[in-house]
């Protein structure tokens, strides 16, 4: 289900069950249909976002929510929840926002297709529509994004999903509370290998290979390691994994410094375009619906400028919704490929966004959801990321998964309001994720961690 | 009446290396100079002539002894005592005019531009360098540079002039010309002068008294010779005076023989 679904429908599962589907048809059915989007005005969509957020906070366990609705019915449920949380006020606040505290904002981004909603909101007017004058600033690397976000040169930034977790936990920097009110994209990565390896498609043959990932705290790193480990390759002992900035990945591949990489697009498509590599596997084939990049803002910014924050989030949410529609993808590619944004040839960006692409081995493939845009920051994403951070020794000691996930990946006033009203706040929901055929239960992170043969704990 | 310049018990030593005995350059030097006198000091290298001049200039401190000028003890350099250095020491980034003006402004900082310029021009003319005011030292010959040095020292109108072998680096012809000029200037200004030289003829031409230093180490002021020749002597004619060769031989004999044995004899 998507963020735009009706939370007062007891038959709807709010928690995404992507990955549990065994057939493409069921998966397709659970994706937002374009009709759903086109029927709704943006105001109605925003209202849905607020309702969902509140309901999710009140009922972290999706089963509980559905049972509650079945028991009392939607209208009563709405009344009950509104008694605790001023839904109308929130909707109005979210939809209109109060007077903007700050209209000139700087949002940093890295020039990859993951940041499409952030980028496209500039040339396509989504920021302006909210009364915001946003300068999207191209940044040299993830460390610089982090530094400029922490020192407040950026009001908000495009970050890799694990980064706000790491920043809040203080891994690699002094702890600063960061939040992820929206995920930028799902899927959209790939493992690309050098052309000379086209005969070596079985990962078991990859001992001694050198791989590159964009950053240590990234889905790319975790997915690559997961893929290698599942095929019996120890990512620290049997291969080398290096951190390389995405623009240098293609050059390194060409120079034979690395054998392959798991990188965000358009790097993979660019390697194909330059005749240097081929796409071995899309990340969507490892974990369909995995998060990649996030839109992150500091807690300080949110609390100091609530109206601005809401307006910014609205702009991103609208841009995300627009980007999800297949018929808009070509228009978006034309808007964001220019030197001011991605600075890539148009055809490269088009191939990534439309999913009709050359795979580097002479075939033209059609995978329309090669990259997806769904902004819901599921808490279980955060928990999965943290298990992998522990698995590979990036975070040591005992981690309070639920606490951090709640604080970073989903922050709503409702949750706080519930605590203040003395109501029990249940543990985070048992949403299921399936990675390479293996189920992940967000309620049992320690067991998941211990179930792996290859780990550094 | 106290003399204009008085030097008492002057002594200079350098500490011995590695526990050796101290090196005594000169010891127990006493002399006086009257106002308007021109004194030359002659001696072989190493007798400490330059050191004595530096002490008088205030640039060096003696190990022992005192010197007084006009009743006041000499304790450091002063505009009262103008110095012409052996290697002209002109500032190469300043023009001729600039070099002299720098000195003039040091003495009279309140003078107006015009006054300084006029004063400087006067001394440039005096050393016959008119026309070269705006040249840099690198554009001048050795003799011209030395003239600028002299002009600079005279321009501040010091009580006393100290010259350290000012013509040592010049050829005989140029030296002769400048000597004549110096004679004219000094006679015109009645300047008190203390000059170091190696040239016996120069000493006879220029000075009223000649100090003779024995050889170092442990040099002493061996003799003070009064110049017997008349005050209006000229370079061209003085060698015709019978007393010329008398005093000349005396000086040369000293330098060749007695300077060495003086210490032994004393």
């Amino acid at each position: 289900m998507s963020i735009f679904s009706n939370p007062f429908d007891s038959k709807l599962r709010l928690r995404c069950s992507c990955g549990q589907h065994v057939s493409a048809a069921e998966h397709e059915a659970s994706q937002i249909s374009s009709s759903e989007l086109s029927d709704r005005s943006s105001e109605a969509l925003n209202a849905r976002v607020v309702e969902q957020a509140v309901m999710r906070a009140v009922f972290p366990q999706d089963d509980m929510r559905r049972r509650f609705l079945q028991a009392v019915g939607a209208p009563a449920a709405l009344a009950a929840v509104s008694a605790i949380f001023p839904m109308a006020f929130a909707k109005e606040a979210f939809a209109q926002g109060g007077k903007l505290e700050k209209t000139n904002l700087k949002v940093g981004f890295i020039p990859i297709t993951c940041a499409t909603p952030i980028i496209m909101a500039d040339p396509m007017g989504f920021y302006k529509k909210q009364g915001l004058n946003v300068e999207v600033v191209k940044t040299a690397g993830w460390a610089v994004v982090r530094d400029k976000a922490l020192n407040k040169e950026y009001d908000a930034a495009h970050m890799l999903s694990p980064m706000p977790l790491a920043i809040s936990m203080g891994a690699g920097a002094s702890p600063t509370p960061y939040t992820v009110p929206a995920i930028e994209n799902i899927n959209g990565q790939a493992i690309t290998l050098a052309v000379k390896h086209k005969g070596k498609r079985n990962p078991k043959d990859w001992k001694g290979f050198k791989f590159a990932v964009p950053f240590d705290y990234s889905m790319h790193n975790y997915l690559l390691r997961y893929y290698l480990a599942e095929n019996g390759i120890d990512p620290d002992r049997d291969v080398q994994i290096r951190v390389v900035p995405p623009p240098e990945m293609v050059a390194n591949l060409r120079a034979d410094n690395i054998d392959g990489f798991l990188a965000p697009d358009p790097v993979n498509q660019r390697a194909v375009y330059d005749g240097v590599g081929f796409i071995h596997i899309l990340s969507k084939e490892l974990w369909d619906g995995h998060p990649c990049c996030a839109f992150a803002a500091s807690k300080e910014f949110m609390t100091a400028n609530p109206n601005t924050y809401s307006a910014l989030l609205r702009a991103i949410v609208e841009a995300t919704a627009y980007a999800q529609k297949a018929e808009n993808r070509k228009e978006i590619a034309a808007a964001i490929h220019t030197p001011n944004y991605l600075n890539q040839p148009l055809t490269v960006v088009e191939q990534v966004l439309t999913g009709t692409y050359a795979d580097g081995l002479g075939n033209v493939k059609k995978v329309p959801d090669r990259i997806g845009f769904d902004p819901m920051p599921w808490e279980s994403f955060a928990v999965w990321i943290m298990t992998q951070m522990q698995r590979w020794g990036q975070v040591k000691g005992d981690v309070d998964y639920q606490k951090i996930a709640q604080e970073v990946f989903l922050t709503t006033d409702a949750r706080r309001a519930m605590e203040q009203a003395g109501l029990a706040v249940p543990a985070a929901g048992s949403k299921k994720i399936v990675v390479m055929g293996k189920v992940f239960d967000a309620n049992k992170p320690k067991e998941y961690l211990n179930s792996f043969a290859i780990k550094r704990v | 009446m106290h003399n204009f310049l008085q030097v008492q018990g002057l002594r200079k030593t350098f500490p011995g290396l590695n526990g050796a005995e101290d090196l005594v350059v000169f010891d127990d030097v006493n002399f006086t100079i009257d106002r308007g006198e021109f004194v030359c000091i002659i001696g072989h290298s190493g007798c400490g002539k330059t050191t004595i001049l530096n002490v008088l200039a205030g640039l060096e401190v003696p190990t022992d002894g005192h010197s007084f000028i006009d009743g006041r003890e000499i304790s450091g350099p002063s505009l009262d005592r103008g110095v012409v250095f052996q290697a002209h020491a002109l500032m190469p980034w300043m023009t001729v005019r600039g070099n002299i003006a720098f000195a003039v402004r040091s003495k009279w900082p309140d003078w107006s531009r015009e006054k300084v310029d006029a004063h400087v021009q006067q001394y440039i003319d005096m050393v016959h360098l008119t026309g070269s005011e705006d040249k840099k030292p690198s554009q001048l010959s050795g003799g011209m540079k030395q003239r600028v040095g002299i002009a600079r020292a005279f321009a501040i109108q010091p009580k006393m002039l100290l010259l350290d072998e000012p013509f040592g680096a010049l050829d005989a012809l140029t030296r002769g010309n400048i000597q004549d000029e110096l004679v004219t200037i000094v006679r015109g200004t009645q300047q008190t002068v203390f000059m170091i030289t190696h040239d016996v003829d120069e000493a006879i031409l220029l000075s009223d008294k000649i100090f003779l230093m024995s050889n170092g180490p442990r040099a002493v002021l061996a003799e003070i010779v009064t110049n017997p020749l008349p005050k209006d002597r000229t370079r061209a004619t003085m060698h015709h005076d019978p007393k010329f060769y008398e005093v000349r031989n005396h000086l040369i004999d000293f330098l060749v023989h007695r300077s060495k044995t003086y210490a032994a004899a004393a």
Binding site: - | G76, P77, L79, P92
Partner: protein, 279 residues
């Protein structure tokens, strides 16, 4: 009748022409047959369609890009896409600021060190330790403490370009000829007049040499710093073109970097000539 200068020019042009010729030959595209179908070929670059890797650009490509950039050097198509003229202006202004601040600190401090043995011995260890630190090491420190990336870039230029000026000033001041100092003593010149009229002009050629070295370092550092931090400047321009793997554009940028560096050095060479005196 060609004089010596003319002959040197002709030789330079000849060397350049030979170099360009070799470059053209080395980067000539090898004719390959298209080995993929039409639909695929439309989706990939020209080289990939013939089964080869994309190549290093030839001199004509670079020349074309050069003309393109120079014909419209001041365009502004957004925060991340500005003409090469604007980028160079940003870089030069950062250099001017950082270098200027460095000079303001280095020359007085150099005077102090040159004139006082006590200060020389006290400050020397710090100078020797700080001098060899690379700008790429200073950058993260600066970003962390100073936070603003513009200020950090200027600071990194400051801290890297200060050393040659400082050391040369100290050396020049300490090496002023004793006889000139003696002249000032006999003329009872005040310390301020002495510093301004004698020591400064005497040490000026050495100081100027230090400044000339420093400006070279500053220009080097700014390109590296901007590549690290991004935003505006010629270093950012290079990084942005690197993102697009546009080697031709990078070469254009490299050429401009070299030319500006040369111009800066020429300026300082002129200044150096002005303060040099023949002794």
């Amino acid at each position: 009748m060609v004089n010596e200068r003319g002959r040197a020019v002709i030789l330079s042009v000849l060397i350049f022409a030979i170099f360009v010729m070799f470059w053209q030959i080395a980067t000539m595209p090898t004719q390959g047959a298209q080995i993929v179908d039409e639909e695929y070929a439309k989706l990939v670059g020209a080289a990939a369609a013939t089964g080869q890797k994309s190549t290093f650009p030839g001199p004509l490509d670079v020349g074309a890009k050069l003309v393109e950039h120079l014909s419209d050097p001041f365009y502004d198509r957004g925060a991340n896409d500005k003409g090469i003229g604007i980028q160079l202006a940003w870089s030069v202004s950062r250099v001017a600021l950082g270098f200027g601040l460095a000079a303001l600190v280095a020359i007085p401090l150099g005077f102090l060190i040159g004139m006082s043995r006590l200060f020389f011995q006290a400050l020397d260890p710090f100078i020797q330790v700080l001098k060899p630190i690379s700008p790429l090491a200073w950058m993260p420190l600066a970003l962390f403490t100073l936070k603003d990336s513009n200020v950090s870039a200027v600071f990194v230029i400051f801290i890297c370009s200060i050393w040659p000026m400082l050391i040369n000033t100290a050396f020049g001041v300490a090496s002023v000829r004793k006889e000139w100092i003696d002249v000032t003593r006999t003329l009872e010149v005040s310390p301020l007049r002495k510093a301004w009229f004698v020591i400064l002009p005497a040490a000026a050629p050495t100081i100027m040499t230090g400044m000339r070295i420093s400006i070279g370092i500053a220009w080097l550092v700014i390109v590296a710093a901007e590549m690290l931090v991004g935003g505006t400047g010629i270093g950012y321009f290079v990084w942005n073109e690197w993102n697009n793997l546009s080697i031709a554009n990078i070469l254009v940028a490299v050429l401009m970097i070299g030319l500006i560096g040369m111009l800066l050095d020429m300026c300082f060479a002129r200044l150096q000539k002005a303060v040099t005196y023949r002794d």
